[in-house]
Amino acid sequence: MALPGSRGIGRRLVIAVPFFWLLLLFVVPFLIVLKISLSQDVIAQPPYTPLLDLSQGWAGLKDFFSQLNFDNYGYVLDWNNEFLNAYGSSLIIAGVSTLLLLLVGYPIAYGMARAPRSIQPTLVMMVILPFWTSFLIRVYAWIGILSQDGLLNQALTALGIIDTPLEILNTDLAVYIGIVYSYLPFMVLPLYSALEKMDGTLLEAAEDLGCPPMKAFWLVTFPLSLPGVAAGALLCFIPAVGEFVIPDLLGGSDTLMIGKSLWTEFTVNRSWTASSAVAVLLLIVLVVPIVIYQNIQARQLEAGK
C-alpha cells in the first residue's frame, strides 16, 4: 500500500499507533528503570527518590541531576554480593545450554529436512505443538522425572543400572535439561528452515567429485546452514541468560543465575533501586547479541525467506 494516496492520514495512523504503543510501554519503561537505578531507596510509596519533576522548571532539572547516584551500581558490582558471579554463571549456563541445544537440535532439524516432503509439515507441527503447552507446565513435568524418588531414578533402579538414586533435581544439570527441553523448538525451527531451503544438487556435485559424505556435510551443508545456526543460537541464548523459572524450580540453592538474583532482590530484599541496577547491567551485557539478532531477523523477514 505504498502507493498513490497512501501518504494520507491512514498511513500515518498505521505507523503511529503501534509506534507510540511500543514507545510508551517498551522504551519509556527502560528509561524509568535507568533513572530508578540511579536513585536511592527510601521508605515510602513508591520506595525510591522521586522522578523528574518538570513542573518546577530548571530547579526540578537541577534537583534531578543532583540526586543521581551510583551507589546501586557499587552494590551490584561488589564482589561480596554475588551479583557478578551470577552474571558470569548465567552467561556460562546460557552458553553451554546453547551448545547443547545445537547438538540436540541439529540432528532433529537435519532429519526433518531430509524426510519425505509430504510429511515435513506434520513434523514441523509436531515440533511446535509442545510449545503451545505452558512453559511452566513443561518445567514442572521435569520435577517429577528428576527428583530423588522420581520416574528416572525408579526406571534406572528397576533396570539395575544404579543402586542409589542419582541426585539430579536441584543441581545445575537439571537446569541444563530444563533449558534444552524448553527452548528446543526455538533452535530446531530456524535450523530446519535454513536446511530445508538448501539445494540438494550441491551435495550431489560434492559426491560426484568424490567427496565423502561426512566431509561434504562439513564443507557444504553446515556452512550453508550458518544463518539458521546464528538465529537459533541467539533466540535461545538471550532469553536463557535472564531465565528465572527454570533455575528457580529445577536448580539448587547454589545455582546462581541473574534472573533469579533480580527476582530475589526485588521480592525478598524489596530494593527496587538495586534490582533496577541489576536489570540495566543485564541489558548492557545483552545489548550486542540483541542488536545482532534484530539485524538477522530484519534481514530474513525483509528478504521474504
Binding site: 505507523i15 505443538l129 514442572y140 513435568a141 525408579q154 527441553y181 528465572f244 541489558l283 528478504a303
Partner: protein, 271 residues
C-alpha cells in the same frame, strides 16, 4: 535438500520427538494417580479433577487468566498487524529502524527485565495495578510476536492483487479489507492464537505487573509448585493441555477448510 532419510535421520527424529513428548505424557498419566504422592502409582483415579472443581481460588485464577488472554491477544493482534503492515508496505519512513528495533527486541528480552520495567512505569504514573496492568503488559510483548508472524506472510504474497485494486480506484483502506486481510487472515489468526497462549502462559511478567486481587493461573500454579508437587497440579496442567490441544485442533481444521474453499473457488474461476 531431499535425498531420502538415512537410519541416522530416522533415529534422531524418533529420539528427538520422544524427548519432546514423554515428559508431557508422564505428566498427564500421573494426573490420574490415586496416590497423593506424584511419583508412586496408586491406581487409576479422577479424584484430583473433582477436587479442581471445588477449588474456588483456582477457578478465579482461571477466569482472570482467560479474560486477560482474550482481551490482550485481541488488542495485540490489531497492533501487531498494523506494525507488520508499516514494516513491509511503507518503504523507508523516518524512525523505521527504531520501529523495527522496538518490534523485534521484546521477542528475546528476558522476562524479568520487561516485567520490572513495566511495573516501574505503572508505579511512576500512578496506575493502579491489577487486571488492566497485566493486560497492557501482555498486549505489549505479544503484539511483537503477532507482528513477526503477519510480516512473514505479508512479504511472501503477491502484491499485484493489491496494486490492481488500487489502480481500479479502490481506496487503500478498502483494498486492505477486501484484498489484503482475507489473504493474510491465516497468519493473523495464528498470530492471535500465539498471543493468546503466550498470555495464558506467562508467569514472570504477570507477577511483576499484578496487584492485589488479580492472580493468574500460572501464578497460582507456581505458588503451589513451590509448596510441593501434588497430583492436583498435574490435573490442572492436563486440563490446560487439553484446552490448548482443542484450540489448535479447531484452528488447523478451520485453516484447512478455508484452503479447500479457496482452491475450489480458484478452480471455479479458472473454468
Amino acid at each position: 535438500m531431499n535425498r531420502g532419510p538415512t537410519w541416522f535421520n530416522v533415529t534422531s527424529l524418533v529420539l528427538g520427538f520422544a524427548f519432546l513428548y514423554i515428559p508431557i505424557l508422564l505428566l498427564i498419566i500421573y494426573s490420574f494417580n490415586g496416590s497423593r504422592l506424584v511419583t508412586i502409582w496408586g491406581g487409576f483415579s479422577t479424584e484430583w479433577y473433582v477436587a479442581l472443581l471445588h477449588d474456588e481460588q483456582l477457578l478465579d485464577a482461571v477466569w482472570v487468566t482467560l479474560r486477560v488472554a482474550a482481551l490482550s491477544s485481541l488488542v495485540a493482534t490489531v497492533l501487531g498487524t498494523l506494525a507488520a503492515i508499516a514494516l513491509t508496505r511503507y518503504g523507508r519512513f523516518t524512525g523505521r529502524s527504531v520501529f523495527s528495533g522496538m518490534t523485534y527486541a521484546p521477542l528475546v528480552m528476558p522476562e524479568v527485565i520487561t516485567g520490572l520495567s513495566l511495573l516501574l512505569l505503572f508505579v511512576a504514573i500512578g496506575f493502579e495495578r491489577g487486571f488492566w496492568t497485566i493486560m497492557l503488559a501482555h498486549t505489549t510483548f505479544t503484539m511483537c510476536f503477532v507482528a513477526v508472524v503477519v510480516q512473514s506472510r505479508l512479504v511472501t504474497f503477491d502484491r499485484s492483487l493489491e496494486e490492481a485494486a488500487l489502480d481500479l480506484g479502490c481506496s487503500p483502506a478498502k483494498t486492505f479489507f477486501i484484498i489484503t486481510l482475507p489473504l493474510i487472515l491465516p497468519a493473523v489468526i495464528s498470530g492471535f492464537m500465539l498471543a493468546f497462549t503466550l498470555s495464558m502462559d506467562d508467569l514472570v511478567i504477570a507477577s511483576f505487573t499484578t496487584g492485589p486481587g488479580a492472580t493468574t493461573l500460572p501464578m497460582r500454579i507456581y505458588s503451589q509448585v513451590r509448596m510441593g508437587v501434588t497430583p492436583e497440579i498435574n490435573a490442572i496442567c492436563t486440563v490446560m493441555i487439553g484446552f490448548i490441544a482443542i484450540i489448535v485442533l479447531i484452528a488447523s481444521i478451520a485453516t484447512k477448510h478455508q484452503e479447500t474453499v479457496r482452491r475450489r473457488e480458484e478452480q471455479a474461476a479458472a473454468q
